[in-house]
């Protein structure tokens, strides 16, 4: 067994983990599992693609930054894409989820998110067709780094980006007033209201952070694999599994869960074949539910 699966697993795990942060935050703060989260990824990727296209139309062809496959237009586009995806999440909350939440039935919100997911994904299919597209068709040469492992410059850059993002979300959650309000709301909503936490603001921040990270994960998939309308929906099960494995509400847990699932998937691809990849997260999910339903870093619900 070659050690290449470590790199593949870490990359897959980064994408899953970034998505799972959003899932775990929505679940713990808004108290529902959002089936539309995968589609935020796809929307983020397509939004970024559209912005890259617009920049290309305005400034002409721009050479990529030395060893990478992309240049500054993509970097600028991701930032805009993150904002767009965050706004999309906010908009969806405003017209749909918030109103249903006000009625007080959590599981109806889950169903609505399922309907929204279907609509969002099909809308992408309608606008961009279901044919896969790419940010760049250039093929990168993978550099050997020893132990039989090869890695491309893009992959290194994206792993570093993931680390930076995860660290900043962690700092946001633990070192800022907003982050502490988010934690308070997830641990005890009633008490959080009593001490005067601005719930509406916390909800907004949750959606924006979740949407922005989903966009980055979607763009990562777009750079390393391809962009297609179903890309996010296919990530849904690994993301849920990662969030539950890590413990609902825990940002480091979601990332660690994502990495574990990514590595397990990559290992399984080498051992039993790529076609069974999607079953890995289901097996992990079931194991966690039977053995330790609160996950690695979870707290028992009150």
């Amino acid at each position: 067994m070659s050690l290449q699966f470590v790199v593949d697993g870490l990359l897959a795990g980064s994408m899953i983990g970034l998505g799972a942060i959003g899932v775990t935050l929505t679940y713990s703060i808004l108290r529902f599992s959002n089936f539309a989260h995968g589609d935020f990824m796809a929307w983020g990727a397509y939004a970024t693609l559209a912005v890259v296209g617009a920049i290309g139309a305005m400034f002409g062809k721009i050479a990529p930054i030395a060893p990478l496959s992309f240049g500054w237009p993509l970097i600028a586009a991701v930032v805009i894409g993150m904002a767009i995806t965050g706004l999309l999440a906010l908009l969806l909350d405003m017209v749909l989820f918030a109103r249903l939440r006000a009625k007080g039935q959590a599981i109806i919100v889950v169903m609505a998110s399922f309907g929204a997911s279907m609509a969002l994904r099909s809308l992408l299919e309608f606008i961009f067709s279901s044919r896969p597209t790419y940010f760049s068709r250039a093929i990168q040469i993978a550099m050997p780094v020893g132990f039989g492992i090869r890695i491309t410059p893009d992959q290194i850059a994206l792993l570093l980006l993931t680390a930076v993002l995860v660290l900043s979300v962690h700092l946001l959650m633990t070192r800022t007033q907003t982050g502490r309000s988010m934690q308070a709301l997830s641990q005890n909503a009633a008490l959080a209201r009593i001490v005067g936490i601005d719930v509406a603001k916390v909800v907004r921040v949750t959606w924006i952070v979740g949407g922005a990270l989903a966009c980055v994960a979607g763009v990562m998939i777009g750079i390393l694999i391809q962009i297609r309308p179903f890309m996010g929906f296919d990530m849904l099960l690994p993301m849920f599994a990662a969030a539950i494995l890590g413990g609902i509400g825990s940002v480091p847990g979601a990332v660690l869960g994502g990495l574990i699932i990514g590595l397990a998937e990559a290992g399984a691809v080498q051992l039993i074949g790529a076609e069974w990849r999607a079953a890995v997260s289901f097996i992990i999910l079931m194991t966690v539910l039977f053995v330790r339903p609160i996950g690695l870093f979870g707290v028992r619900e009150r």
């Binding site: 599992s33 599981i107 067709s129 289901f282 079931m286």
Partner: protein, 326 residues
């Protein structure tokens, strides 16, 4: 004549959908269990029955050439067991975990259908599934009408059985659990046990519907059981009104009419290369419809009385209705 034949064919399909919806209504409408992987249970039924009844095939396991009825009962049994296992794994946890797990079940069933060639025929599916009245296939009208008769019978039996169940002490426990879990438990009812039962029976009905469908088309493939199926059935239940069996049946026929009608419309209005895109617009419209109904009229056409909100927020909205019906 053609129109009558098409009408029979349309109703047959709609009634098979309504069987799935009835199963979902038992799980969600009556018991409050959220199943987002029902396509997986339908697929389990279809494949089980196909394996049991098809003639021997060297390329895969089986078939066993058994009578069609054996296939249908086998489908219900396997579908019920699969649903029971899903329930046992998750029903002691928060309701969202059941949703996520059923979603996973559908993904895994889809994977098995696609990749376990020895069992399921892989992406090409299973053909030569025996059809009841296959001998009548020469005269399409008679064939369609006899199919309709069989499906109507099965639907009627399931419908009456469910009506009876929901009025029985068993059904009342389920409703009690849905409305106020703590009160029901304090009366000595095991919430988890009853819920697993309801989930298993619902899964068995879905599997039966899958088996029926397989035997009327004579051919099944993994593509028949995509998440879009789950979504369609949910819309049918919500439109009809969850909690009501008659609503489930009528909602299914209505939504299937809208679906088939708009499908026919897009095939007339759009050129062949635009059809795939038009079809996705159709799904967008139905998805928006689901969300709008949830917002505006959460009880659908024939919905059960409003559930009591956990903290009594909605109690003041419809106090009379809940007294009148209980």
């Amino acid at each position: 004549m053609d129109l009558l034949g098409y009408g029979a064919f349309f109703l047959t399909t709609a009634l098979i959908f309504s069987l799935v919806t009835l199963g979902l209504n038992l799980q969600w409408g009556l018991t409050g269990l959220f199943n987002v992987g029902l396509a997986g249970f339908v697929a389990i039924g279809a494949y089980t029955s196909a394996l049991l009844t098809t003639p021997d095939d060297a390329a895969r396991l089986g078939g066993f050439g058994l009578p069609i009825l054996v296939g249908w009962f086998g489908a219900m049994l396997v579908g019920g067991i699969a649903a029971a296992l899903t329930g046992i794994a998750t029903l002691r946890l928060r309701s969202d975990y059941l949703a996520i797990t059923t979603f996973g079940v559908a993904v895994v069933v889809q994977l098995v259908a696609l990749n376990a060639q020895k069992l399921t025929g892989g992406p090409f599916g299973i053909g030569f599934i025996p059809r009841p009245f296959g001998g009548l296939a020469e005269t399409p009208l008679l064939f369609n009408l006899s199919n309709l008769a069989v499906v109507s019978m099965v639907t009627l039996i399931v419908y009456l059985a469910l009506e009876h169940l929901s009025r029985s002490p068993w059904g009342r426990v389920l409703k009690a659990l849905r409305e106020d879990e703590r009160a029901a438990i304090s009366l000595g009812k095991s919430a988890r046990f009853y819920r697993v039962q309801a989930f298993a029976v619902g899964g068995a009905i879905m599997a039966l519907a899958g088996a029926l469908q397989a035997h009327f088309t004579g051919f099944i493939a993994p593509d028949n059981y995509l998440p879009a199926l789950t979504f369609q059935v949910w819309v049918m239940l919500i439109v009809g009104g969850s909690g009501s069996n008659i609503g489930a049946v009528i909602g299914s026929i209505l939504v299937w009419a809208i679906w088939a009608g708009s499908g026919a419309l897009t095939s007339v209005l759009f050129s062949p290369e635009q059809q795939a895109r038009a079809a996705s617009l159709q799904i967008v419209a139905i998805g928006v419809m689901l969300c709008v109904i949830l917002l505006v009229r959460p009880n659908g056409l024939f919905g059960d009385r409003p559930r009591r909100a956990r903290f009594g927020k909605r109690a003041k909205e419809a106090p009379d209705e809940s007294i009148a019906k209980s």
